[in-house]
């Protein structure tokens, strides 16, 4: 195939050539970045929480009035006893938060009391001795809390439990290669001895600000007695989640009506928690996906439209070529190559645009650098799209009969 005649023909169609190249360049820039955003968002979605999500639901219980800490603790213990007797409930535990909740109590952990910088951030989960069983966590070293170790504390008390259980991720960070059980760590209120290590337990926020300590959690053997209430994490027996949820709400009100369990988010199954936590991630991925597909369709349509126009314009020239001995193949290849040349120019400019757009987004928004594989994927998609779009008009061109050369002069 000779490139030179194609180039000289294109020189006579500057505007059309420029428009197609431009469209391909812009499409590449946007599709690359959109694909990249999708990947970033979707990568999030598959992160595990480490808990038995299928059977867990959350009760958000709020107390009425401003009862004191001892009174709240008594009411919480009564509630837990009630919950554990509800048919279909396997176990229940009180906590201040749960994975994917979005916010809660985060704290710096130190290895020495006089250390200035924290050794690591961490999520603080208040718990009782049922926490590990209720959430379905795997204890990989040490032991669970004993019932007599569980205390209670008000928001305004010091956070200084004698013993704690930490996650493997935190243990690896604090004591790389070593044994965490038996060691002392320092929370904001004072020292605590690590008595156990659990395998996997995600932090309460999956936002980027919390990504430094995504799986580093500390489990505190206290019931946090907030007068405004807190959460009960409940694990239903397999297959009995819905029934257990309904029964749990009723049982709590029957036990003590002076409480608020809101209609909209008072009782949430963990699958609802998950979908709420990732709502914007999933939405963003869908939006970017839809925009990319429509964009590719629009670009393809544009190429079809303009190439058809060119074919229409050049019918006579095609006829002349055919009459002079060019085969159908030659004509087909001519248009395919022409499109490939334009696409390559567009893709080249598009690559620069895509990188520029990504760099700009990195400075303006919390985004990562675009990885090369996305550019390559985008380039391949667009080149294939161009060839696919040009196929129909090119085939039509190849069917122009040689007799066309003699007409209309």
């Amino acid at each position: 195939m000779q490139i030179k005649p194609i180039l000289s023909a294109l020189r006579r169609h500057k505007a059309g050539t420029f428009l197609i190249a431009m469209q391909i360049a812009l499409t590449l820039a946007i599709v690359c970045n959109a694909l990249f955003i999708i990947h970033q968002r979707v990568a999030h979605l598959s992160e595990p929480t480490g808990i038995d999500e299928a059977n867990i639901f959350i009760v958000k219980n709020e107390w009425v009035g401003a009862p004191d800490s001892a009174r709240v603790d008594a009411m919480m213990r009564a509630d837990l006893q009630t919950l554990r007797q509800v048919p279909g409930v396997q176990d229940a535990t009180p906590s201040n938060s749960y994975p994917l909740r979005g916010s809660g109590w985060d704290d710096g952990v130190k290895l020495k009391p006089d250390q200035l910088q924290d050794s690591s951030g961490s999520t603080i989960y208040f718990a009782d001795e049922h926490f590990i069983d209720t959430l379905g966590l795997k204890l990989i070293a040490g032991r669970n809390f004993r019932a007599d170790e569980i205390g209670h504390m008000d928001m305004r008390y010091k956070l200084a439990p004698p013993v704690v259980i930490i996650t493997r991720a935190l243990a690896d960070k604090l004591f790389p290669g070593g044994q965490a059980v038996g060691k002392t760590i320092y929370l904001i209120g004072g020292p605590a001895t690590v008595v156990g290590v659990v395998d996997l337990l995600q932090a309460q926020s999956v936002e980027r600000w919390a990504s430094d300590f995504a799986y580093r959690s500390v489990i505190i053997p206290e019931r946090l007695t907030l007068s405004l209430g807190s959460f009960y994490i409940v694990r239903a027996r397999p297959g009995q989640l819905d029934a257990a949820m309904r029964a749990a709400g009723k049982a709590l009100f029957a036990q003590n009506p002076r409480r608020v369990i809101a209609d909209d988010d008072g009782l949430l199954s963990f699958s609802e928690v998950r979908s709420r936590a990732y709502e914007s991630d999933r939405g963003m991925a869908i939006l970017m996906g839809v925009i990319s597909i429509v964009l590719l369709a629009v670009t393809a349509a544009g190429i079809v439209g303009l190439t058809s126009f060119w074919v229409g314009q050049r019918r006579r020239q095609i006829g002349v070529r055919r009459a002079l001995g060019a085969t159908r193949q030659d004509i087909l290849h001519y248009f395919m190559t022409e499109n490939l040349l334009i696409s390559c120019a567009g893709v080249l400019v598009g690559t620069v645009l895509a990188i520029a757009m990504n760099l700009w987004m990195v400075t303006r928004f919390e985004m990562h650098r675009l990885s090369l594989s996305y550019l390559v994927t985008g380039v391949v998609i667009l080149l294939l799209l161009g060839q696919g779009a040009v196929l129909a008009p090119a085939l039509r061109a190849s069917r122009v009969p040689p007799v066309e050369a003699t007409r209309s002069v």
């Binding site: 428009l19 007068s227 349509a301 544009g302």
Partner: protein, 437 residues
């Protein structure tokens, strides 16, 4: 002539239905994507209190020092300690001022068949009602004297008044909050600024309207906990009293400063106050304060969700591509009619008439694209909840201004895109065209 050109345009559009459909759909999609994302952006970047956005200020005082603030580009904490808030309230250097926090309280209805419930509740000072221009349905705000005396008074919102009193004038009646009676002095009419500028820290800018307002002084006296964030740089120690005397930050603060000279004076006052705290030994660093008005504060707190900005940018890029596409397709369409243009020109039509004819045709395409875009925008606005959080998504509405904007953008951009193809069409040499046919 206009009507004739429109007719010509429509006829030409019908002649090439596929090409026309392509253009209309491309414009429709581009406009719809831009308008849908714009509707969210518009709602989240809204000025919640236009008349006063440059008169209401948030002061910030660095009580944690450079060690803590260096993680935050040297900015002071986002909230205030009880100590500083009370000192600023005592000094009264602004026309009006208030400390505020979301109070953790619940309402116990007198009707025993109704369960207790929670409403969005704030504890603040009497000044806040006038500062934030809160309209009253019945009664009025409580007074500064009632602030002083920690009075058991409350202002309730319209929705709560409807729920508890069936919408009747409830001024003078009691409402039971956390098990204590409060005398209702006023019922606020619907007041729902979006974003909720008064407490961005605890709401991220979007929340249900406030239904219960109680005096700050009383809420603190009764040790009412905050329903919002509390940040401590050090262990505050045990109990309520040591907490409110600690360096933990948990309060919002607003000052009304009607002129820039008053704002400057307040800035100087804040620095003086911080210097005084430094002399007293509480701060071991030079004064580091900020004073931001509503607009600056919302901007600093990044209230517009990242998703809204990114998707608006991507959609505008999308619209741009659709337009480039339209330029190409219009070019193809117009040039195909070179002979027709040649005939018109030969019969005496000046270039101006050719311009007019083709721009009107393009406007017709734009109008059709606008109608398609409007339908798609309607769908898009309904689907916004798939992308954004419910609190944000419900703000996106297809109102009259958005409808007009959609049509305007569609027609304007299409006409803009038609300039180059029209110019090319007008350049057609009549002699050439007549010869070759």
């Amino acid at each position: 002539m206009f009507a004739y050109y429109l007719q010509l345009g429509l006829r030409s559009l019908r002649k090439n239905p596929l090409l026309t459909l392509l253009m209309v759909l491309a414009i429709g999609c581009g406009v719809a994507a831009s308008m849908t994302t714009y509707s969210v952006f518009r709602a989240t970047s809204n000025n919640p209190i236009p008349d006063k956005s440059s008169q209401l200020y948030v002061p910030q005082i660095d009580n944690w020092g450079p060690d803590a603030s260096k993680d935050n580009k040297g900015e002071p904490p986002n909230a205030m300690t009880y100590t500083d808030a009370i000192n600023l309230m005592r000094d009264k250097r602004a026309k009006r001022q208030t400390a505020l926090y979301p109070a953790a309280i619940s309402i116990v209805p007198t009707d025993p068949s109704m369960l207790p419930f929670r409403e969005t509740s704030y504890a603040w000072y009497a000044d806040a009602f006038a500062m934030f221009d809160i309209p009253f349905l019945y009664g009025h705000a409580w007074t500064a004297d009632e602030d002083e005396s920690h009075a058991a008074v409350a202002v309730i919102g319209k929705a709560l008044n409807d729920k508890l009193f069936n919408g009747a004038n409830s001024v003078g009646k009691n409402v039971s909050i956390n098990g204590r009676d409060y005398r209702i002095v006023g019922v606020a009419d619907k007041w729902n600024p979006e974003p909720v500028f008064y407490d961005v820290i605890n709401t991220n800018g979007f929340d249900d309207p406030i239904e219960v307002f109680i005096p700050f002084t009383r809420a603190v006296e009764l040790q009412t906990n905050t329903n919002g964030n509390n940040n401590c740089s050090h262990d505050p120690g045990k109990g309520w009293d040591s907490w409110i005397r600690s360096e933990c930050v948990w309060l919002g603060f607003w000052a009304e400063l009607p002129t820039t000279s008053e704002a400057d004076a307040y800035r100087a006052y804040l620095n003086g106050y911080a210097a005084e705290q430094q002399r007293a030994g509480r701060f071991r660093w030079a004064p580091n304060t900020r004073l931001r008005n509503v607009t600056e504060w919302l901007d600093y707190q990044k209230v517009v969700p990242q998703e809204a900005k990114v998707s608006l940018m991507v959609s505008l890029g999308f619209l741009l591509i659709c337009l480039v596409n339209t330029v190409g397709l219009l070019l193809a369409k117009f040039m195909r009619r070179s002979s027709e243009i040649g005939v018109r020109r030969a019969l005496g039509a000046p270039r101006k008439e050719i311009y007019l004819q083709f721009l009107i045709e393009a406007a017709a395409v734009g109008l059709a694209g606008g109608v398609v875009g409007l339908l798609l925008t309607g769908l898009g606005v309904m689907g916004v909840s798939l992308v954004f959080e419910p609190d944000v998504a419900r703000l996106a509405k297809l109102d009259v201004s958005l409808v007009l904007l959609t049509m305007l953008v569609a027609v304007l951009t299409t006409v803009l895109a038609a300039f180059y193809p029209t110019w090319r069409a007008a350049q057609v040499q009549p002699a050439w065209q007549l010869k070759s046919n």
